[in-house]
Subunit: 292 residues, 2 copies
């Protein structure tokens, strides 16, 4: 089942709402303009992973949209209420997706609509994590420097305007693939529609974990950041792009990492097989399980 808890000034711990009934106004700018922000975090045994990182990114996204959203404390209380309700309803589930959503609210009202949604992790997500991903490279249309000169493009903000991300994934599925890695118009590797790109290189016993540079207008990955910190503690070297597709083809392994699916190996790119490494995937998955 799905649990909904609205952040509501009249309810300190959030207002529990019936997810089987309509709860949003049809005039909410989240629904009519995709004008809002969100986060998805994994909860394990009733505790959200990386909660502070997600709340910090939500605040940063909201600032990019000039959107006043509730503070971290209010979100945290609503999350705890929602997880408690979910545990009562689904006592056998050890994990859950916790979604935080804040929209610009009903047109003219001038107040954000904000809610927490808790639901089971989709089986298809778990299956992709285990099986790995066939990925298409698709152009995102932007060059890798535009984010810095055009803040109104909201690059690096996690907004509700995800139609292009969803269309890219549909395009990949129609072509027999599972997911997408976006490239910039100047040929740089960016990110997945809902994930961060990682690659590993092993040379002379030295292991390096690399991700595209944030300045290329991608979303700062909370899972990538947590994994990088953990990998550094285990002696990995860390690298930040710029990356081009040939770096993916030359790597010893490539993954997409995100908060719910976690670390998923990329098996092929545009139909061409990539190197994979069961050992590296196992090593990093262990770090993900412990630290991400």
């Amino acid at each position: 089942m799905t649990v909904l808890v609205f952040l509501d000034p009249g309810h300190d711990d959030g207002r529990v709402a019936d997810a089987s009934q309509p709860q949003l106004m049809a005039t909410d700018l989240g629904a009519t303009r995709g004008d809002g922000v969100f986060e998805s975090m994994l909860a394990v045994d009733g505790t959200p992973r990386k909660e502070q990182a997600h709340l910090a990114r939500l605040a940063s996204s909201a600032a990019a949209l000039d959107l006043a959203v509730p503070g971290a404390d209010a979100w945290g209380r609503a999350v705890r209420t929602a997880l408690r309700e979910f545990a009562a309803a689904e006592p056998d589930r050890t994990s859950a997706v916790v979604k935080l959503v804040a929209t610009r609210g009903v047109e003219g009202a001038g107040r954000a609509t904000a809610w927490v949604q808790v639901a089971p992790v989709p089986a298809a997500t778990l299956a992709q994590r285990a099986a790995g991903l066939r990925v298409l490279l698709l152009e995102r249309g932007y060059d890798s420097t535009v984010a810095q000169r055009a803040p109104w493009l909201l690059m690096g903000a996690k907004t509700l305007s995800y139609a292009v991300n969803m269309a890219a994934i549909r395009h990949a599925k129609a072509a027999g693939a599972d997911d997408v890695i976006f490239t910039s118009s100047d040929g740089k590797v960016l990110e997945g529609p809902t994930s961060t790109v990682l690659l590993a290189r092993e040379r002379d016993g030295r292991k390096t974990l690399v991700t595209p540079q944030l300045e290329s207008g991608i979303l700062a990955g909370t899972s990538q950041a947590a994994l990088f910190a953990a990998a550094k503690g285990q002696g990995w070297e860390l690298g930040y792009g710029p990356l081009e597709p040939h770096h993916l083809f030359e790597a010893d392994a490539v993954w997409l990492i995100s908060s719910i699916r976690l670390l998923a190996p990329v098996l092929s790119l545009d139909g061409q097989e990539l190197r994979t490494s069961a050992a590296l995937t196992a090593e990093l998955t262990d770090l993900v399980d412990r630290f991400v």
Copy 2:
């Protein structure tokens, strides 16, 4: 007041819903992913303007998103129900905004959520039409050829993912302007966030009306198309870009045209005054009133 009518297989003429109450599921992909399409049309004296053009563009947008939406007949019946309800509630209003929205529906349900919303024309919109617009040129980040090679970018589809359009208008307002004209990364004039660009040239008694070329990835303007047809009948020559900003500075008049605000003169661009023409604005406004 606002009238809502949901398209519903169980209600031939649409299901009237209370717009003062929540009517959308919080799990609707329109609200959580901006995954859907919309149209806004003007109704005058209870009759929608350019209804067929809007329904055709809605169908084209839905096709770009691979989204199955109700057919034109069902939309038409729901629009008539909504306008009848609106007329009963607001008998003194001669015009109204009729919004058609279709989302991908509740996650997993596999059925679009579709509704018609009728509301008064905002006073601020009418004020802008009369007063004219101070406009900023802002980069849209895409080059003018990307739409043709990257259909997953949904250029030319009117989706619910309008966060960037809204951010651009906020950026303009923060800079003391009213609206935006987007440019491509290769320097072409594209469109406004919610409007189409028009310019006029008068040379030796010959009048030419020009708009950016559709192939640059812009939305096909229903108002621009109707006005072009009407102007041609009055002896205007018609032109289609590519346009660059210098063409706007050199024109005898520039307007933004859209379905609700209709024809609004552009007074300045990036703070530099443009030529305006009360005579041309009056002539084209007369055509808009009769034919658009």
